[in-house]
């Protein structure tokens, strides 16, 4: 069996990639995809730990997380579409009408 630390390393790398993506990319959709990557890194960790503990809890949590992520997608994409309609752009650097 692959040791759980391998999964942990992979999940940590995916999580870091996701976090980096949020910080450096400027397109709202790409940022959103990076956030999904972070959530899925956590999912991977849940499944890996659940397998090593031989318990089902962690695997069930993944379903919760997937459901929540789907709800977030619905709201997030709706927000992005509304922004696109007013600004004709989803570049977050252009979202700077408020300062201070």
């Amino acid at each position: 069996m692959v040791p759980v630390s391998y999964y942990l390393a992979l999940a940590a790398i995916l999580f870091a990639l996701g976090a980096l993506g949020v910080l450096i990319r400027r397109n709202a959709i790409i940022i959103f995809m990076s956030i999904e990557l972070m959530l899925n890194a956590a999912n991977l960790l849940f499944v890996a730990f659940a397998r090593s503990f031989e318990s089902l809890d962690g695997q069930i949590y993944v379903f919760f997380v997937i459901a929540v992520a789907a709800a977030e997608v619905a709201v997030g994409l709706a927000l992005i579409v509304t922004i696109f309609r007013t600004k004709h752009s989803i570049d977050i650097d252009e979202l700077s009408s408020m300062k201070g």
Binding site: F15, V22, N43, F64, T86, G100
Partner: protein, 484 residues
Amino acid sequence: MEFFNSADLLHALPLIFLMSWATILLLVAAFARAASERIMPALAAAGLLLTGYFAARQFGNPASAFNGMFAADGFSAFITLLLVLSGLLAIALSSDYLKRMSLNRPEYYVLMLFSITGMMLMASAADLIVVFLALELLSIPLYVLAAFAQPEPRSEEAGLKYFLLGAFASGFLLFGIALVYGATATTSLTGIFIAAQSGLEQPLYLLIGAALILVGLAFKVAAVPFHMWTPDVYEGSPTSVTAFMAAGAKIGGFAALIRIFIVALPSISEQIVPVLWALTALTLIGGNLLAIAQNNVKRMLAYSSISHAGFLLMALVVYGQDAARFDVVASALFYLLAFIITSSGSWGVVIALEKQAGKGLEFSDYAGLGRTQPVLALAMAVFMLSFTGVPPTLGFAGKFYLFRAVLEGEYVGLAILGMLASLISAYYYLRLIVVMYMQTGNPKIHSERWLNLTTVGAAIGVVVLFFASEPLFDLAALALLHVN
């Protein structure tokens, strides 16, 4: 194994009731649109009142339900009552404002009720995965509410910013939960406590996990350095939404922080307290210094709400000490009560002065308010004094109990820092009073029945409740956490 029984449903009654009520209201909004625009505020308020009644009946008999995933104790009942209060104040502030800004769509109240359910669940969650679900239930309706004034670009922008940073923060929270699960093989708060007591194979996982959970929730309560979204979101959202967000989201976030740290993580308090200390110090200093530079009242109140998150975090720093622990919970709850009333009232004044398209929000727009609108100006002055912590206001009592708890925990440095922060904050709160009373101008205000009632009522409450602060604090002290 039994999944749940009728006793479980009874313990979760306030939550289940409000969720069903909100769902029914959503159907009412869909099928009786014209009528619901008029009656929706009243229906939403009635639902909240009934929820408050059910929660009050639970006071004093702690129980845990749904296989230990849900706690119904004094703490959750008290938080529910606070949420009902802040929800009612928010509805009263919203109803006329929405009509004036032509935003009167009945979904608004339904989203608000859904969000309040999430906040209630935050206080009752006895399992980390429930905390995650509650946080999302709290946040997703708020993202929509922040963008409710679309196609107004600033509101859309606020919604998207809040959404992206909120989802980013829940990523941290979830990864932290996964690591804690990896360390302890459980996500139940008491289970984590027991596992940590009996020694862990990988104590580092627990530590990193706890830190990530702290980051995720610090975003929600807007602690520095995780506060970047706050001023923009507070400024861009419709003001009635901001008023609700400032009070409600803060209650939910702190309820979860307090329960997680006190119930599950006392064993790592030695390592986590210095982090909390630094977070508190940054929030107190950062929030107050940034508020000084603001000329927009909405932004100033946003930074002020950051600094109040700092004061509430002060209570959390003391969490590891058994002796001070219960005073800490009580003082945090009392401070939340003072903050809700003061903050809702001050947003009421902002709403009264706001004009279309984000006008009427600068400090200079308040010039001369003391002469032309003495009642409103006096109310605003009371709120500013309460924010600063000047007697005889509820804000003073809140700070008094908080500093007392911090001193009992022997964090003298932190108490001094809090005093300094209060001093700095006096500058920008008093500046508004000076502008209102000593500069000349002719501000136009909107005089609306519920708005006036809420603002004046909150101002009277802030002063009158100060004289009842002793019994109120005793009530908060009864709101014990059900530990193990």
